[in-house]
């Protein structure tokens, strides 16, 4: 019995996880942040067994509203709000979200595409590569399914400006369930186009796919950090005021920014913040 107790104590000491925080907390907000928030919360709760946190994926806007109304003590956001919208709340960037547009090398014949043309392809207005300066071959559009945060991000970042907020992708598109499935379908189908999380694009290139430049800017971490590449944005955690030392919220943000948290960011297919 003594032995077991000492083992438990040792393990706790080793993970540095003496239960210093406790209580129930409700976080919520962006669905794009959710794939980071869920595993991060799970890990955080393991480190702090007294803490129970829930994350409600209601969207960035609704999340901020609930935060300001006091329903959430922390909200996730994939939108960047200005000071007027934040009303004193503080947004801490935790990750970058960049999407790469990939094509099959056969039957396409382009290396660069404009944002406007890309939006038209996914809205269904452009259906032949000839219309964007490529070969006279039909475009095979590969899309994600609605459950994917990437599906919503891509619409927001690419198509929302010309075609409005309500998602209206062309229905004549192959629907896939995973980044990997997009990759395999684009790689095996001549004339096809798809989009994947930036981290994933490297795999596609290795396997013989092509990553497009958007308005002549390639999706590199440097270009995203410098805000040159257009299909990218930062992800934030927002607190009502500057995070207070000793609060669970501050501890959680610190956890997400720690190497362990950033590796969660990476495994959720987002880009960890550049190390300063």
């Amino acid at each position: 019995m003594k032995k077991i107790a000492s083992i438990i104590a040792l393990t706790l000491a080793a993970t540095g996880a003496f239960a210093q925080y406790s209580g129930n907390y409700t976080f919520g907000g962006s669905t794009t942040v959710a794939p980071i928030a869920y595993p991060a919360i799970e890990q955080f709760q393991k480190d702090n067994p007294g803490v129970k946190i829930s994350y409600e994926a209601v969207g960035s806007g609704a999340g901020l509203k609930a935060l300001l109304a006091g329903q959430f003590s922390l909200s996730g956001s994939s939108a960047e709000y200005d000071a007027a919208a934040l009303k004193g709340a503080v947004a801490t960037p935790i990750a970058l979200d960049g999407l790469s547009v990939i094509i099959n090398k056969k039957d396409t014949g382009i290396k660069n595409i404009s944002m406007a043309d890309l939006a038209k392809i996914y809205h269904g207005d452009i259906t032949n590569w000839k219309q964007v300066g490529g070969k006279d071959k039909p475009i095979v559009v590969v899309n994600r399914d609605e459950s994917s945060g990437t599906y919503a991000s891509f619409w927001e970042l690419v198509c929302q400006k010309p075609f409005g907020k309500a998602v209206a992708y062309t229905r004549n598109a192959i629907v896939t369930k995973e980044n990997g499935e997009v990759a395999i379908k684009v790689l095996s189908t001549p004339g096809s186009i798809g989009y994947v999380g930036m981290a994933f694009a490297q795999e596609v290139i290795k396997a013989g796919g092509l990553e497009l430049a958007i308005d002549k800017v390639m999706p590199t971490t440097a270009n995203i950090v410098a805000r040159k590449y257009p299909i990218a944005r930062s992800l934030f955690l927002i607190t009502r005021s500057a995070p207070v030392q000793g609060s669970v919220e501050k501890a959680f943000i610190d956890f997400v920014l720690s190497p362990r948290g950033q590796s969660i960011v990476k495994s959720a297919d987002y880009i960890p913040l550049p190390v300063k």
Partner: protein
């Protein structure tokens, strides 16, 4: 003596319990499916659900029409059977009547192997080989009705082959001997006597295969294209009932989720009808056989 009796009754009870458990499982699944799916029809009429092809469950004014998926399921299944039945029947006849013992053994084990391959492997094979072959032969993107049908044809073939072989083999010997004695050739005997005599069993095999094809999800998901549109061309994309359930299941909530259970009910009813048909066909084949033997 007493111990033997005790053992016997214990074994009996256990077997009964197992049988009972499987019935209870079916019952509970049915109740669960209907309870989860039926509430949809308070908001959407059955007619609209079955005969509208507007599937936009997350739009501002949601549409829950699954006609495209019903058509998709039947189109893919029908086409698959169109390919699998002639081939499967031919193999079944060959194994029952024409092949030697050794070759029959080899064919049987390879057919059994075919039946044992997991559907995800069929799907991968489909993405890499079938979609590109069908793109070259039939045009389009390769993710299409025809690709899905080819995969399903390969997957349903073992069922059709097995049942066709068994039902021809189990025919009374006198049928074949009588036909040959009357001067018919072996080929005439097969086509005019054996196959017609075994037809109920063969039909049962085809319907069993059809059930497998309608219910198959993963393999068709990987090659069908999965666009929620009405399939209009054989080389165009398709989404079946099963594909619709699996695609939306991960994120659906509220009415959307209920509509997926309702899709499940439709699938369930189709399979139920198919199974009843199989049972009728088999029953008929048994009475035919008994009648034949009595005459």
């Amino acid at each position: 003596m007493k111990r033997r009796k005790l053992f016997e009754s214990a074994a009996e009870t256990m077997l009964f319990a197992s049988a009972f458990l499987s019935i209870v499982a079916v019952l509970f699944i049915t109740i669960f499916l209907f309870r989860s799916g039926m509430p949809l029809f308070r908001k959407v009429s059955v007619f609209e659900f079955l005969f509208s092809s507007r599937w936009e469950p997350t739009a501002a004014t949601p549409g829950y029409g699954i006609l495209s998926f019903i058509v998709g399921s039947f189109l893919v299944t029908g086409l698959a059977l169109f390919i699998a039945v002639p081939v499967g029947l031919a193999v079944g006849i060959y194994m029952a009547e024409l092949s030697g013992r050794k070759s029959s053994k080899i064919i049987r084990s390879s057919v059994e192997l075919l039946a044992g391959i997991p559907s995800v492997v069929y799907g991968l094979f489909g993405i890499v080989i079938i979609s590109s072959v069908s793109r070259t032969l039939f045009g389009g993107s390769g993710y299409s009705v025809i690709s899905a049908a080819i995969i399903l044809a390969i997957m349903t073939m073992p069922t059709i082959i097995n049942v066709a072989e068994v039902s021809i083999r189990s025919l009374p010997k006198e049928l074949k001997e009588g036909s040959l004695a009357l001067g018919a050739t072996h080929w005439q005997t097969i086509i005019r006597v054996l196959v017609p005599a075994a037809r109920s069993g063969i039909i049962a095999g085809v319907i069993l295969g059809m059930g497998r094809a309608i219910g198959e999800t993963l393999a068709v998901l990987m090659v069908g294209g999965n666009a929620p549109i009405m399939p209009t061309k054989l080389n165009g994309m398709v989404r079946t009932l099963t594909m619709n359930i699996i695609t939306d299941m991960s994120y659906a909530t509220g009415d959307h989720l209920t509509s997926l259970f309702a899709t499940g009910i439709v699938l369930f009813l189709f399979i139920l009808v198919l199974n009843l048909t199989v049972q009728l066909a088999l029953k008929k084949s048994i009475t035919e056989m008994e009648g034949g033997a009595g005459a």
